[in-house]
């Protein structure tokens, strides 16, 4: 069954306090050299064939991401 991966991230100009908190915690845990952390969401969908990529983009844009503050990438995974 075909798999589709959608990754949703906050637009770069939107404040990401969770990413900042993670970044702040890293030196305390002994990890150096990390310059920035942004946190997003990863969706994995199993879909019926045939894969209609345009329709899936519409799904992602309507529900999985809030286009006011988020952007997404969509990938149909090779079988």
């Amino acid at each position: 069954m075909p798999r589709v991966v959608v990754d949703v991230m906050l637009k770069p100009e939107i404040l990401d306090p969770q990413g900042s908190a993670i970044l702040g915690a890293l030196p305390r845990l002994g990890f150096d050299g990390v310059r920035s952390v942004r946190q997003g969401k990863h969706f994995e969908l199993e879909v019926d064939e045939p894969v209609d990529e345009a329709r899936l983009r519409e799904l992602a844009d309507t529900l999985l991401a809030n286009s006011v503050i988020e952007e997404f990438t969509l990938q149909v995974m090779p079988l």
Partner: protein, 222 residues
């Protein structure tokens, strides 16, 4: 006058919104998310809570409820709609209002008695306040940080569509201290603070919130 309060799975402040309507002198009507009918109400309140557990994004799923199709349609034709907290989130997800609500900048849920300034008294829900009036109303949210693109913000400010603004401290990092906004017609208002929790001296920090509910009653009559 009948004011509907929608209950989604996970809504919490629906009972309190109905109480506030009653205290204001209106007739509260319980509306179910799954029914597209508004049962003849003259205005609608989308209450606070965690509809659908805030899954995916706050209000993201509630926005597609059958009742919302009707609310969106009627709002476009002038029906007064008040979105409180989660209700504000649902209004933004529905694109009835611009912008979005994100995680509080300090990452904590915060419940405080918050001072607000009423900056637009021309909306259906704030006509009973004085311009610039300061009121104290509880805020309680974890995802209450209002954001919008700079041009959207400028337009909101320019058109006087910031309805209430945080005064004396910003509880969640909302840009330009914006606590609530309205659409261009002024019938749809969304705000993060909870006026329904400030309608009784015994249980609230003040009765300053009552004005939201009395305003819409007079708006309907006129």
């Amino acid at each position: 006058m009948k004011i509907g309060v929608v209950t989604f799975p996970g809504s919490l402040d629906d009972r309190d919104a109905r109480r506030a309507i009653r205290v204001a002198g209106g007739e509260p009507v319980a509306l179910w998310h799954g029914d597209a009918t508004l049962r003849g109400v003259d205005a609608v309140v989308l209450p606070g809570g965690f509809s659908y557990g805030d899954y995916l994004r706050c209000g993201a799923i509630a926005r597609f409820a059958p009742v919302m199709q009707t609310v969106i349609d009627r709002a476009g034709r002038g029906l007064p709609v008040l979105g409180i907290c989660n209700g504000f989130q649902i209004l933004c997800e529905s694109h009835l209002l611009p912008g979005a609500l994100t995680r509080n900048a300090h990452l904590h849920f915060r419940n405080r008695d918050q001072r607000l300034r009423v900056e637009n008294t021309a909306t259906s829900w704030t006509s009973g306040y004085r311009q610039g009036e300061e009121i104290v109303v509880p805020v309680k949210n974890g995802e209450g940080c209002f954001v919008a693109a700079p041009d959207v913000l400028d337009r909101l400010e320019g058109e006087g569509r910031v309805v209430v603004r945080y005064a004396d401290g910003n509880p969640n990092g909302s840009v330009r201290d914006i606590a609530g906004i309205c659409n261009d017609r002024g019938n749809v208002v969304g705000l993060m603070p909870h006026p329904e929790h400030a309608v009784e001296k015994l249980t609230g920090p003040s009765i300053d919130g009552l004005g939201f509910f009395t305003s819409v009653l007079t708006a309907a009559v006129s």
